[in-house]
């Protein structure tokens, strides 16, 4: 075994829970950074394809309602995380479920938006709109599944005691907030700019 291998193995073998948590957090943030680049490219493509033009047929009220639901789901996700970190598993489970429900309502809004859209996927704005909302909805859908998985793990006692043991739930909730941050930029770019 080389010296480098020995050092890496040693670092994993003797890392404290706090250090492991720090490494997990860093890994998740690196994932966020790489995923954010994909969304940034989609965002720039919207301006490249259709400048600052937004068709008047875009459903403004639906966009505002969907945005409000997603923002509100961030609060319930945050409440789930803090509850689980402090060992309040029952509240954490109910908040995770509520967040997943709101995420599903958001997805239903996206489907409704696609069905009612009066612009074509073939024109500049339509291409940007369907690709951006599609990519984002894919992340929301995976987030809903992850939230339900976290709830199941909470029920199985995986996060009992909170603290560093709650990292699994905390990481999933952070992913949910990341999806929310993406929408913070997508909403004005797709709906409000004209």
């Amino acid at each position: 075994m080389t010296a480098a291998h020995s050092t890496v193995h040693g670092a994993e073998g003797h890392a404290s829970p706090a250090r492991l948590l720090r490494m997990n957090r860093m890994g998740l943030w690196l994932f966020f950074a790489s995923d954010a680049l994909v969304f940034a490219l989609l965002l720039s493509a919207r301006f490249y394809l259709d400048g600052l033009h937004t068709p008047p047929e875009v459903k403004q009220i639906l966009g505002l309602v969907m945005t409000s639901i997603l923002l509100l789901s961030s609060l319930t996700a945050y409440r789930a995380e803090t509850a689980i970190e402090h060992g309040n598993i029952a509240r954490g489970r109910s908040m995770l479920l509520l967040t997943a429900v709101m995420g599903s309502v958001f997805l239903a809004g996206v489907v409704m938006e696609w069905m009612l859209a009066e612009f074509s996927p073939g024109d500049g704005y339509g291409t940007a709109f369907f690709s951006m909302t599609g990519m984002h909805a894919g992340h929301v859908a995976s987030g809903v599944l992850l939230l339900l998985m976290a709830r199941r793990q909470a029920s199985a006692g995986k996060f009992d005691g909170g603290g560093t043991r709650a990292w699994g739930a905390s990481g999933i909730v952070m992913y949910w907030h990341f999806v929310d941050v993406v929408w913070v930029f997508f909403y004005p770019v797709l709906y409000l700019i004209h």
Partner: protein, 76 residues
């Protein structure tokens, strides 16, 4: 859960409500600005910093960005 833990949880949850209230106000401002401002470029100039502030609040308070450079024990 101890009383101390319950108090800490309550404090953190109140902080979450404060952040969501700020995000709601900024979203309403965005929406009104889009109605009130007719020209594209001035609207973009108004909406961009609002989106950045909203993202910053989520990153800092909900995603705990400062924990990345906190001491290990403190961050745990």
């Amino acid at each position: 859960m101890s009383m101390h833990g319950a108090d800490a949880e309550q404090r953190e949850q109140s902080a979450g409500v404060r952040v969501i209230a700020i995000l709601a106000v900024l979203t309403i401002i965005e929406y009104i600005a889009a109605i009130a401002i007719g020209a594209s470029v001035p609207l973009l100039v108004v909406l961009t910093p609002i989106a950045l502030v909203k993202a910053w609040y989520i990153l800092k308070d909900f995603m705990h960005l400062p924990r990345l450079w906190a001491d290990e024990e403190e961050a745990a």
